[in-house]
């Protein structure tokens, strides 16, 4: 397209020339940059030169670094218009074909993704003339990288080609399913479900099922476990009456596979499997299978199954749900609470609370609450944390009073846990607990804890504690704040530790709005102003930041008469940061 370049003059040509030259610069970053602007280059070259010069050059550029190739593979997926529209889209196939054979999986996957994208832009004729032959070439390539890439392309061609070609495609897929290298069989197994979806139902039964059965009994467990995933899609496609004969024996076999990795996969996909096979099979087959997985000898499998307990129970058919849970699932769950492996316990703790909504108040109190208590006292902090984080589901079912009586002692213990993440989780639940326990109960049991966190040695805890106070004041009101919290907070301004003095400032910042103008002006402001003489610069600039924040809450007389002089003084401080924040406060509060 020289006319275009000429028309716009040298000014526009030069940057493009730089971009083109940098396609082969020694610096990867520059090459990457150029590749990312490939559309700009193509636009400047025009569609014809892009097709005849740029694309052939890119086809041979597969020596590059992965990140460059990845970017190239992605760009080519959006290149249709730049090579002249759908009529010419097939000229993008050669570079993507060579990218689909590189060893780096991410690059190959991206090339396949782009190929899938541009396959939609091929006319049905072009698809058979250009695209399908490419798929065949990849499928029968010498190296397994190309054959793995082919697996992802069958499903996009299949719906749009003639019956003869369809038969060929099915044949190619069959061949890849029994490829000699496990890599290819894995790729085929992982695309089996997707391919089944585009096949006619008769072919699903006649072609896909035998392949599925074969892959599910492959000698390598890394292949078998992928068949489990395919099982979900295949089961969804088949009518209910065919499931038993075509899928279930394979699924049963997978759930009892010798390899724990396959059983793990079954456990991991259990909810999807459950939905795919429907309520009847679930009742008869999956419930016992699930029990077995919960009791599996490998901890990884138990953990995966434990993770699914809530979802599995939720999706059980309503008519028999409670009976099934009480008689089949709960006994296993009870055992898992005292499992030897902490990952299993922790997985269970993250979902076990969800059972209470399904089982209702009485069952929760009788059967679940004891389990919660055990887990809340578990030696592993992760287990305790997971229980705390899910208290709200139980709260809805049995009410906070009962919850607090049984759980409060354990919670208080956790509030003083040595692990700061555990303490943090408890703090985050304080407003929830406080709101429902009421002022009296809170003051009596929890207030002192909340104040103790303000002087915690971990900053994240002090910060969370500050935020917690604000939420408490929002719940209990300004008067409560003035009586219980404010005196303690202000008292800390004289603390010898500057970190604690700063906490006072952070609290004031957080509380001022909730406490309102009167308390802020009368009680808090004097303390803040006094602290502007602190020896520590960090405290002084936080005074400035604090004043900036509480300024809008303070009445305007005090702002002019008291705040302004202090900020002006701080604006001449020796410390750069103090100066900076004071000046910022002055300008935000418009005191200049």
């Amino acid at each position: 397209f020289p006319e275009m370049a000429g028309a716009e003059g040298e000014d526009s040509l030069y940057p493009i020339a730089v971009l083109i030259d940098e396609l082969r610069n020694e610096d990867v970053q520059l090459r990457l940059n150029s590749i990312k602007k490939l559309s700009t280059i193509a636009l400047a070259l025009g569609v014809e030169r892009t097709r005849t010069e740029l694309i052939p050059f890119l086809t041979d550029t597969i020596y590059d670094e992965d990140e460059v190739l990845l970017a190239l593979a992605e760009q080519l997926g959006n290149f249709t218009m730049l090579v002249g529209g759908p009529e010419y889209v097939h000229c993008l196939l050669p570079p993507l074909e060579s990218l689909a054979t590189v060893e780096e999986t991410v690059v190959r996957d991206k090339a396949v993704e782009s190929l899938r994208k541009i396959s939609q832009e091929h006319s049905p004729v072009d698809l058979e003339v250009h695209f399908e032959p490419l798929v065949k070439r990849l499928a029968s390539g010498d190296w397994f990288t190309s054959r793995t890439s082919a697996c992802g392309l069958f499903s996009v061609c299949y719906p749009r080609v003639s019956n003869t070609v369809k038969a060929e495609i099915r044949q190619h897929f069959r061949t890849l399913c029994s490829d000699e290298t496990p890599m290819v069989r894995r790729a085929a197994a992982s695309k089996l479900g997707e391919f089944a979806k585009v096949l006619e139902l008769d072919y699903v039964k006649s072609d896909i099922i035998p392949l599925f059965t074969a892959l599910a009994s492959d000698e390598q467990d890394s292949v078998r476990l992928l068949a489990v995933e395919a099982c979900v899609s295949i089961a969804t496609l088949l009518p209910q009456e065919d499931l038993e004969t075509l899928v279930m024996s394979t699924l049963r076999q997978a759930a009892e596979d010798k390899s724990w990795r396959v059983r793990y996969m079954v456990a991991d996909k259990f909810s999807e499997l459950q939905k795919a096979v429907g309520p009847e099979i679930t009742k008869n087959d999956l419930v016992p299978a699930f029990q077995n997985l919960l009791k599996d000898c490998e901890a990884e499998v138990r953990a995966a199954a434990a993770n699914k307990v809530k979802e599995f129970c939720e999706n059980l058919p309503e008519d028999s749900r409670e009976t099934l849970i009480m008689s089949h699932v709960l006994p296993c769950v009870k055992e898992l609470v005292s499992d030897t492996n902490q990952h299993v316990k922790s997985a269970l703790a993250s979902v076990i609370m969800g059972l209470s909504t399904i089982l209702g108040k009485d069952n929760t109190v009788e059967h679940l609450l004891p389990l919660f208590l055990v887990q809340l006292k578990d030696e592993c902090p992760e287990v305790r944390l997971n229980i705390i984080s899910n208290l709200d589901c139980v709260n809805e079912v049995i009410g906070i009073r009962q919850l607090s009586q049984s759980l409060l002692p354990a919670i208080v213990e956790l509030a003083e846990d040595a692990k700061w993440r555990v303490r943090l989780a408890i703090i985050e639940y304080m407003p929830l607990l406080a709101g429902q326990l009421g002022v009296e109960f809170f003051d009596e049991k929890l207030n002192s804890l909340c104040m103790a966190w303000l002087v915690d040695h971990v900053y994240a805890i002090r910060e969370a504690a500050t935020c917690n106070l604000m939420k408490l004041v929002e719940k209990f009101g300004a008067e409560w704040a003035q009586n219980t919290i404010v005196p303690k907070v202000l008292g800390m301004s004289n603390d010898p530790n500057y970190l604690h003095r700063m906490t006072t400032l952070f609290c004031i910042k957080a509380l001022s709005e909730a406490c309102g103008q009167e308390i802020t002006t009368k009680h808090m402001l004097p303390v803040v102003l006094k602290m502007s003489n602190d020896q520590v610069a960090n405290v002084r600039f936080n005074v400035a930041k604090c004043l900036q924040k509480i300024g809008p809450v303070i009445d305007s007389n005090a702002l002019q008469a008291e705040v302004k002089p202090v900020l002006e003084k701080l604006a001449t401080d020796q410390d750069m940061d103090v100066k900076y924040f004071a000046q910022e406060a002055i300008s935000v509060l418009a005191l200049a």
């Binding site: 000429g6 020339a17 396609l23 070259l45 740029l54 724990w260």
Partner: protein, 477 residues
């Protein structure tokens, strides 16, 4: 740093000192199956490859490995360098050059490092090299030193782009105002260039020294083994590995046993074995559990009480374990013997071969000079019918499992000339020494053959003798 004057080696310039073959080959040598001849017109001298003609510590070859087709052969050395040789294609005009291996690529795989936290030096020495199954036109290998495994890609490039917009071909910057049209670079053929690029670095997986790496038949994982632990890695994931075996006792003072080698089964992706310093081999099934601390099979030969001595435990330590290509057998090497085990029989080995039993009386001095701790490797031939392992004095041994014949051969510069037939050697045990025998006392214990490898399908072997690599092949015709 080592000087590298280009990666291409001019073979004709190799000038090695040679002693002419003065004695005729013994009459009976031709009758055995053990006729080997040197297939190269020179031995591959690792020192020479390093551009100096004297041997340094860094030139000592520390591992040698054929790839799965036998087309390539890789060596690693104490200097952290990897040299890859490629087999010359058969050509009609030069039939005698069939099978010659020439340098294909050389690169620095590992550099010396220092662990500042533990105040430990990490040597650059390549402990093991393992080839990956070929997946595209490039070749991939794993190399490891004591701590870090690296995945290398060795690829060819025969085209290079030509044509710049902003400069001339000779690099002169063009005046921007003269640029009136855009130029897209064109790829032109060029001399073949072989590049080695590091693709992945698997570090921080080991506290102790890595002694083995083994690629799984699932093509996506491999394991690395140190003295106390075995880790499983995904070939594409460098920041996470799974510990599958851990024999570290809670109290290190109770340590009685270390892992000496480990290998995956050649076909069953879930099976692997590891050997220990106590002479036992454990076979584990990864299907049974995520942690393989409990073995599924335990191979050990009961100790013969009459042979018990101070050195018993040291010499029973297994220095190498290898599955046969068929996957049916295991071979282990301890200090004095090499043993073949049937996977179906745990109680005792199927076959035991004496490698250098005449050293049994010298164990005391071998202990004093530390030789008793040498780690000899062992290899199978392509059909699992012959096994090979090394010894001292540049001797290496071969055992035919069917005919029960064995032979001692020598890899040495003085005794051979191009395409000469190797002469079997004999060590004299009794008092009377025959003319062509060598006495035990005159064996050179500093010349040891620790590392050998056998072509996967042909009778070609590569033998590392300190800084020299010898390649021998079955006599053609």
């Amino acid at each position: 740093c080592y000087p590298w004057a280009g990666s291409r080696l001019s073979r004709d310039s190799v000038a090695l000192r040679r002693t002419p073959w003065s004695r005729p080959p013994p009459a009976d040598a031709g009758g055995t199956r053990w006729v080997l001849e040197e297939i190269d017109n020179r031995k591959i001298n690792n020192s020479f490859l390093r551009d100096h003609n004297y041997a340094t510590e860094a030139d000592i070859i520390s591992t040698v490995e054929f790839n799965s087709t036998g087309e390539l052969l890789a060596t690693g050395d104490k200097g952290g360098r990897v040299v890859v040789f490629q087999r010359e294609q058969e050509s009609k005009n030069q039939p005698h050059r069939r099978g010659e291996y020439n340098v294909y690529s050389t690169f620095q795989s590992h550099e010396p490092e220092f662990d500042y936290l533990k105040s430990l030096e990490i040597e650059e020495k390549i402990n093991k090299i393992r080839w990956l199954p070929q997946q595209n036109a490039a070749y991939f290998l794993l190399s490891t030193n004591d701590k870090t495994v690296k995945l290398w890609k060795i690829s060819e490039r025969d085209k290079r782009p030509e044509g710049y917009n902003l400069k001339d071909e000779d690099g002169r910057i063009r005046d921007p105002s003269t640029i009136t049209s855009l130029r897209v670079p064109v790829l032109r053929p060029m001399d073949l260039m072989v590049e080695a690029t590091p693709r992945r670095v698997f570090s921080n997986g080991h506290t102790y020294h890595i002694n083995s790496i083994s690629v799984n038949s699932d093509y996506e994982t491999y394991m690395s083994t140190d003295d106390l632990r075995i880790n499983l890695w995904h070939l594409e994931i460098t920041n996470r590995s799974f510990n599958i075996v851990d024999i570290k006792p809670a109290n290190m003072e109770e340590l009685t046993e270390v892992i000496t080698a480990a290998e995956f089964h050649p076909h069953q992706c879930n099976t692997f074995v590891y050997s220990s310093s106590k002479g036992s081999i454990r076979l584990c099934d990864m299907r049974a559990a995520a942690l393989c601390d409990n073995h599924s099979k335990f191979f050990e030969e009961p100790e013969d009480p009459s042979n018990r001595s101070f050195f018993s435990e040291i010499i029973s330590s297994i220095s190498d374990v290898k599955f046969s290509h068929s996957g049916r057998y295991l071979m282990t090497r301890d200090y004095l013997t090499v043993k073949v085990w049937d996977l179906n029989m745990e109680s005792k080995p199927l076959e035991t071969y004496q490698v250098h039993d005449y050293l049994r009386s010298k164990l005391c001095s071998l202990y004093e000079n530390d030789c008793i701790f040498d780690k000899f490797e062992c290899v199978w031939n392509g059909s699992d019918s012959v096994i090979m392992t090394g010894s001292y004095n540049n001797f290496f041994r071969m055992f035919d499992r069917n005919t029960k014949r064995d032979v001692t051969l020598e890899a040495s510069r003085e005794n051979s000339k191009p395409r000469a037939i190797l002469k079997p050697r004999k060590v004299c045990v009794g008092g009377k020494r025959r003319k062509d025998e060598i006495s035990v006392d005159s064996l050179d214990f500093s010349k040891k053959i620790l590392h050998t490898t056998w072509h996967p399908s042909e009778n070609i072997i590569a033998v590392a003798a300190t800084n020299n690599l010898y390649i021998f092949q079955d006599k053609v015709n």
